[in-house]
Each structure stands twice: as C-alpha cells, then as structure tokens.
C-alpha cells in the first residue's frame, strides 16, 4: 500500500518562525526540514548518525536530525544553518569559516558551523583539544580539519 493515513499535525519552531505541518510520525526531523520546509542546509551524509552532516540545534544543543523524529521536537526552538544569516549579515562563524579557508566542498559546513556555535555558547574559551573533541562527530573529507579549527579559534579571539 502506498497511501499513508496516519498523518499528524505538528508545530515546529525553526529559526524563530512557527511552521504548522502535516507529517507521518515516523518522519525524521531531517526529512521534514528538507522536504516540507525546503531548508536544505542540513544534509544527509549517512542516514545513520555517523557523519554529522545533518546536525541542527535543538534548545541550543547539537542534534543529529537524521536520528530525531520530527514529532519529538515540536515547539522546541530549532536552529538550522539558514537561521544564522540574518538580514544580509553572516554569523561570525560563517564569516570566519569563509575567510580562513575552512570550506572546500562545503557539504559538512552547515553541520560543522552549528556544532561550533553550540560549543562556543557552552564554553567561552575552549582549548584546541576541546574544539577537536566537540567537532569529532562532524566528518570532513576535504579539509583535514585544520582550518576549521583555526576558523573557530579566530572567532574566540574576536
């Protein structure tokens, strides 16, 4: 059978906007963000929570949206990469990633920036080791991570 009749209405709070959507309970937050809300910044890299490309922030915490059900996060503040670029002004992390050469193919970048944002909101002055640990759930195959770490350190220095 191709037709699902168990849809439910939920309210998602994404980037300070409320969205009322209809979805099946088993749909992941990643699927809903990308397919229903057209917020394609969060990516599917593995579908199993091993790569971090789907990272978004829920209540300020980094969350693997491919392993999170949309219904689980109703009404809780969700931040995606699209929420960081306000009124034509990039977030300091976005600017720093660009200027430091921390972006190559860019596929890991949204998840990486959000993980970094969560870290900097938790710790004002993390050590290099702490930065590396905090990002260890976001895989990158292009950069070797060196400039990503530098970009974050550059934001800390201010």
């Amino acid at each position: 059978m191709g037709e699902s009749s168990n849809r439910t209405r939920i309210v998602l709070n994404v980037n300070n906007e409320k969205y009322e959507i209809e979805t099946e309970p088993h749909k992941t937050l990643l699927e809903v963000l990308r397919e229903k809300l057209d917020l394609t910044g969060a990516k599917e890299g593995c579908g199993l929570g091993s790569c971090g490309a789907c990272t978004v922030l829920v209540d300020g915490e980094p969350v693997l949206s491919c392993l999170t059900l949309a219904v689980e996060v109703q009404n809780r503040p969700i931040v995606t990469i699209e929420g960081l670029f306000k009124d034509g002004h990039p977030h300091p992390l976005q600017r720093s990633f660009v200027e430091c050469g921390a972006i190559q193919c860019g596929y890991c970048t949204p998840g990486m920036i959000l993980s970094a944002k969560a870290l900097l909101e938790e710790k004002r002055n993390p050590s290099r080791k702490e930065i590396q640990e905090a990002l260890s759930g976001n895989l990158c195959r292009c950069t070797g991570y060196n400039k990503i770490v530098k970009a974050i350190e550059s934001v800390i220095k201010g």
Partner: protein, 757 residues
C-alpha cells in the same frame, strides 16, 4: 618569485558564503515540479545470468510510475576509455557483483519506491564466481566478461635500460612484497542525479559529476540519444576525489525513468549504496626489487603490481600505467622494468581515487628505500637526495622535467621538521619518517585533452568566466577567478565563474588527473588576455597611447611612462561596449601543453604531462607500545607545485591530503565477504579520520615557476597524498622498529611486531 596581486595570495573561496549559509544547492537539494523519486534494485549474487525480470507487481502499487531494466537501453556499452567499454548502466545479460544494479523504479516518494523494489522478481542462474586475483588470472577460470576471453582487464609493461645489468652492478639488492587495501572515497555527499525530459525530447541531467561532457558522451551511447539532445549540468558537488568521474548507473537509471515517465526523476544514493556500488581504490599487491650501489644510487628497479579491478574496467588501464609511471618521476632510474596487471573479479569495481594507482607502489617503493637505507647505513633523506630527479632531466620513459625542486623540498622538509635531531633521539616510541613523490599536472588523454574558457566583460566592468572544468570542492572556480583577475588587474570578487554546463560552458574533459589549474588555468589566461587586448585597443585610442603601453592593475588602466593618464576599468568597459553600433567584449582561450605525447601502448614511452609536481613529506608519530595505537602528530610538507595560485587553497589541499593519507595508513579498509560483498558500507564501520585525529601540518611552498603552467603553477590535488602514507609508515618503523607491509596499520599488527622483536 614575482609578487602578484591575486596569484600567490590567500584567497577565500568565491562560493564560500553560499556554502556557509546553506544556500549552495547540491544535486540532492534540487526539486522540480512533479518530481518522482527513484531507487535501484541490485544483484544479490556475485555472478549470475539474468533469466527473467518480472516487475508487474511493482507497477500495481499506488504511486509507482515506472520500472526500467537493462532491456530499455540501446545495448551499447560505455566506459571512461574507448578501448575498454564494458559497462551498461543496468545489467543486461549478467550481473557481476553483489550490488550490481539490475533495475530501477520511480514513484511519488522514497518509501513507495522502496516498497516497489521489494516487489520486483528477478530470476537468476548463478554462475561460479571468483574474487581472488591469482585465481582469476588462471587459464580456465570463469570469465567475467566473455568477450575479452581473459580476466586480465588491463596490463602495461615498461622495460627501459637493462635491469639485469643494473642488478649485476648493484652492491645491495632487496626484494619485498607489499599490499595496499581497498578504500572508499568517503565524499560526504553521496551521489545523486536528477533527470528531466522536455516535450521536444531534450534530456537535462543535473548530477554531481567531475566531468559533465564525459557523462553526456557516454549517456548518448547508452541511451541511444544524440549528444546534442542531452544537457548535463553540475550543481555544487560535495567532494569527488575521483569517485564522481565517469557515467554511473544511477545517472543512467534516472535518465531512463525520466524518458519513460516524462516527469523529472531524482535518484539519491544512500551511504550504503555509495560505498558498495560505486568505485573503490584498487586493492593492490606490489612486489619491488631494487638494487643500489655503495653510495645508495639506484642501479635497477623491477616493480610488479597486481590490482583487483572488480567487475568492470572503469579506468583500470590508466591505473596499470600509473603504477609504473610513479616510479620514474621522483628518482633517476636508468634501468627499470615494470609489469602491471588489473584483474577482473566478481567484486564491486575499482576506479580512480586521488592518486589513481600511484599511491600503492609509492608506499612500496618508499618503504623499501627506507629498508635499503638501513641496510647500507645511510640516512633515508640522504638516500633520496642522492637519487632525486633534477630540473632538466628526461626520464628513461621520456618524461620531461622542465621544473623540479625535489632536492630543495627534501632539504627544507628535513630542516623544518628537525629531522637530524629527531632521528638520533633515544625516545623509543616516537618516530620520524620521510617519503617523496611526484605527480602529473594532467595527463595526455587519447581523445579530447585541451581545456577551453570564455571570458565576457559587461558594461559595468563585471566579468563572467565560463569553463567546462568542474569545481568539485577543490576550489578550481576560485583559482580560475584569481588568474583572470590577475590578467585584467581586477579582484576575484569582480569575476563570476560559471562552470560545468554542457549547454553554456565550453567543451572540457573535466576534473581528474590534477589537470584543472594547469589546463583550464592557461585557457583562462588566454581568454582573459584576448579581452584585455580588445579593451586595450579602446584605451589606446582614448588615451592617445600605443596598445603595448596600456597596463591593467588596481581596477584601472594606465599608460606606461605617463603616470597621470589613467582610466577606471569600469569606464573603459562602458566605453568599449558602447562604441560604434555597440560591441560585445568576449575572449576565448583554448590550451593544451605542446610537448606531451600519449604514451605508446606497447613501450609506455612518452612525456605524458606538461609538468610534474614534486613533494617531500616528513611525518612524526607517537606509538603507544601498550595498546599498539599510532598517533600522527605532525606532518611537514615541502611542495613544489610551481607558483602557488591560492595559498589558502594549497594549504587546504595539503591538510586534506594528510588526513586522507592518515586514513589510508592507519584506519580505513574495505572488508569483503566471502561472496565479494562489502561488509562495512557505513561510516560507523568504515572509519575515516575525525577532528580528534587531526595532525599538525606545516606546509612549505618550495617551487619555482614552471615554464608551461599558468603564472608557473603546477598541480597540487593528488601529488601530496601519495607520499603521506609511506612517510607515516616509515615514521612508525623509526619509532618502534615495526615494519608494516600490509595496510592498514592496526594496533594488533604493531603489538605483534613488537612481540616478534
């Protein structure tokens, strides 16, 4: 080195902000009205004849629109090389590995498509399968492609000088065996394709490909559709490293489904499919025999490589050649013999992966050189210096080294890393190792090899650069913008780069073999120079000067020797475009090196590239002798890539290469089951380096401008990776005296090695 305003500077990516804000659209992000989702059905058998495919039940499912199989294809085979086309996209007569695509379904959503896949019934007649290369090479073993009458997919042989004579005059000879494992590219973006047929029968395919024109050409063959009715567009690509090169099954399937349904069809591979049904780095065994004189000079070398090519040829013939080629780039060897084989087996196909057949023999040769150095009591770096290729050399197989700073690279890498002090230290678990290598800046292809660019200036002085080369994340768009900006005295932010669209960008082989900066960079220089000349003619008229005296810099034009005469570039553009009846300011550039030859098929003689990069890498490791774990601490790279165009880009390539080499050396391995299937097709089981594994990197540019390269630039995309792995394994030996000859290094192997001592 000349000081340029753009070239040689650290330049952030011109598409960086799009990527940082999530606005960059990759193929999987694209959506079209009435779009259907497609899924592939693959073979559960390693080798079987297809007797019947019954998809009637699948079609009865609500929301399923169409099913396609191999019978919907033209019957023509395709492949990256004309000489060996053995792929059909969807299996037609046989399946040749577990994971070989057999059919494809499209439906209103992914779940329905997946349900439909389950309802397709395929009848197979299983055939005997082979997975081992030695077995597959035997006479009488089951043939994977009957038409070739052998399972030897590709072979190349080099025989230069007189190796017998060379070994006879050697005072020390070593013979060693090495094995390098199968690897997955690990691009964060799994592959995807979106196809759409318009009412007039023109097909558009959006796909994250390295070579849009090659995809168009092969798609034309396999669909039986003229190439001029096919448009291939490359959106943003989330990494390729060679794996997104030629036409692939999901692209064929999406196109077929779009043609059948007249609706757009998108197929996105998941990670399991991405690892198990796409290309791998060739697992390869390497045998090396090297003879040296008392002073360490290499007198003769014999290398034999046997690679497991999997079920389809892909670029294996190039791998067979490259494995021999790599041995003759960094060192002067007058007597050299090489036998290279790639063998068909019933496993997923091997294909191009960054380094393309050079990595495995490089590991073998660099390891053995260290072993020889120890045998004869010579410092490993000194041994390399005594054999290093020099500028002006011609190798025995005809390679012309018109620029080469390898000796300088070795000195600088060892100097900067503190080689001497660290080699003589007493610490028993820290080690330092060196390896060298060199790589082509694009290789002469048998068919279309040149690159072309267009440059167009608008009435506000804005510039559009159009190229068929693909930016797959390596930053070629930015590099080309820097080059065009340098010619025209502008900034890269004034240049918009349009790349990878077969309808609007000029024909180009694409991105592989580290060719883009070298070939497309030169084409961009020519196109920009044509435009510069056009503008200079107008400037000369208005400023009453000679055309030759017009200079472009700082967004203005000046007259040499008349410093008060100047005009804004913007104004000049406006004047030129509005002159007479109105003009267009467009330049065209096309370029290929003039001194290359396609290597002779029998002798393999020929200068295959216009320029070669060189590098020396020094790796430092720490080994935990209790657990056997190896930690890569730091890598110092001294790189001769000629003139560095983008400093940020070059460092990024170095750092990324080190991470990939670290994975190759210490972590990654494709595990094959007893029926050739990939047992670990996920990131949790196939582990690639994380930020926690990050090593310190010191990058030193030691090159001098190459006479052929754009502003003297050479490649940097692949040459660095090939020497990272052996630098690490040599460092491990220096640390704990354990020589790993079969990759990857694992804690168990270290502990076993320590026990044996």
């Amino acid at each position: 080195m000349t000081n340029y305003l753009n070239v040689g500077q650290p330049q952030p990516r011109i598409d960086g902000l799009e990527k940082a804000t999530g606005e960059a659209r990759y193929t999987g992000d694209l959506k079209l009205p009435r779009m259907l989702i497609g899924k592939l059905l693959v073979s559960p058998h390693p080798h079987a004849r297809i007797l019947n495919i019954d998809f009637s039940k699948a079609l009865t499912l609500l929301g399923v629109k169409a099913v396609v199989t191999g019978v919907d294809l033209s019957g023509q085979k395709y492949g990256p090389f004309r000489s060996r086309r053995d792929e059909t996209g969807l299996a037609r007569d046989k399946v040749r590995y577990i994971g070989d695509p057999v059919a494809a379904v499209c439906a209103k959503d992914e779940e329905t498509a997946l349900e439909a896949i389950e309802l397709i019934r395929v009848e197979y007649e299983e055939l005997p399968a082979i997975f081992d290369v030695e077995e597959a090479m035997q006479e009488g073993s089951p043939l994977i492609h009957e038409e070739y009458k052998t399972n030897i997919c590709a072979q190349r042989h080099f025989n230069f000088g007189d190796v017998e004579e060379g070994f006879n005059s050697s005072s020390h000879i070593r013979e060693d065996h090495f094995f390098s494992q199968g690897l997955s590219h690990g691009a964060l973006e799994p592959r995807a394709a979106l196809a759409h047929l318009d009412p007039s029968g023109r097909l558009t395919l959006w796909t994250g490909t390295q070579s849009p024109y090659n995809v168009r050409q092969d798609l034309s063959l396999v669909l039986g559709l003229p190439a001029s009715k096919i448009r291939v567009i490359k959106p943003f690509v989330g990494g390729g490293y060679g794996g997104k090169g030629g036409l692939s099954s999901h692209e064929v399937a999406a196109s077929l489904l779009a043609i059948k349904t007249r609706q757009p069809v998108k197929i996105s591979l998941n990670r399991e499919e991405e690892i198990s049904m796409t290309r791998l780095r060739h697992p390869m065994s390497v045998y090396v025999k090297t003879g040296v004189r008392n002073d360490g000079a290499i007198m003769a070398q014999y290398v034999k490589c046997i690679a497991n090519g999997g079920a389809y040829a892909c670029t294996s013939v190039m791998v067979a050649y490259n494995s021999g080629l790599t041995c003759l780039i960094p060192y002067r060897i007058s007597n050299f013999k090489y036998d290279g084989y790639v063998i068909y087996t019933n496993r997923p196909m091997s294909g191009p992966m960054r380094g393309h057949g050079a990595n495995q023999p490089r590991f073998a040769v660099e390891s053995q050189l260290d072993m020889i150095a120890e045998d004869i009591g010579l410092d490993p770096a000194e041994l390399r210096l005594r054999n290093a290729t020099q500028k002006g050399d011609t190798s025995v197989n005809g390679l012309l080294f018109r620029s080469c700073e390898l000796s300088r690279a070795i000195r600088e890498a060892t100097g900067a890393s503190g080689w001497k002090q660290k080699r003589s230290r007493k610490e028993t678990n820290r080690g330092i190792g060196i390896a060298c290598g060199g790589f082509v800046s694009g290789a002469r292809a048998g068919s279309h090899t040149a690159s072309s660019c267009f440059v167009q200036v608008n009435e506000e002085g804005g510039v559009v650069l159009s190229t068929g080369s693909s930016d797959i994340g390596q930053g070629s768009d930015t590099t080309l913008a820097q080059i065009a900006a340098e010619v025209l005295g502008l900034s890269p932010s004034d240049i918009t780069v349009v790349s990878g669209d077969t309808e609007t960008t000029p024909i180009d082989p694409g991105t592989f073999s580290s060719r883009v900066t070298f070939y497309a960079g030169n084409a961009a220089m020519r196109a920009a120079s044509e435009v510069k000349h056009l503008l200079a003619e107008t400037a000369a008229k208005f400023m009453e000067a000679n055309v030759e005296d017009i200079e472009f810099r700082d967004h203005k034009v000046f007259v040499k020797h008349a410093p008060d005469k100047e005009m804004a570039f913007r104004k000049l553009a406006e004047l030129t475009i509005s002159s007479g009846h109105g003009r267009s300011v467009i330049g065209k550039g096309q370029w290929a090196p003039s001194n290359t030859q396609f290597p002779d098929r029998t002798t393999c003689y020929g200068n295959v590239s216009g320029a070669y990069s060189f590098a020396a890498q020094v790796a430092e490791v720490e080994v935990d002798t209790t657990t056997g774990e190896v930690r890569l601490q730091k890598v110092t790279i001294a790189d001769d890539c000629g003139q560095v165009v983008n400093v940020l880009g070059a460092e990024g390539q170095a750092e990324g290469s080190i991470s990939m080499g670290q994975g190759h050396a210490l972590m990654e391995k494709i595990l094959f089951g007893d029926r050739g299937q990939i047992m670990n097709p996920s990131f949790s089981e196939y582990k690639i380096p994380t930020a926690a594994d990050m090593a310190g990197v010191s990058f030193l540019g030691v090159g001098l401008p190459d006479p052929e390269g754009p502003y003297g630039a050479k490649e940097i995309g692949e040459g660095l990776l090939i020497s990272t792995l052996p630098a690490i394994t040599n460092a491990i030996y220096d640390a704990v005296g354990v020589r790993i000859t079969e990759l990857p290094v694992r804690p168990e192997k270290i502990l076993e090695g320590l026990r044996k001592k």
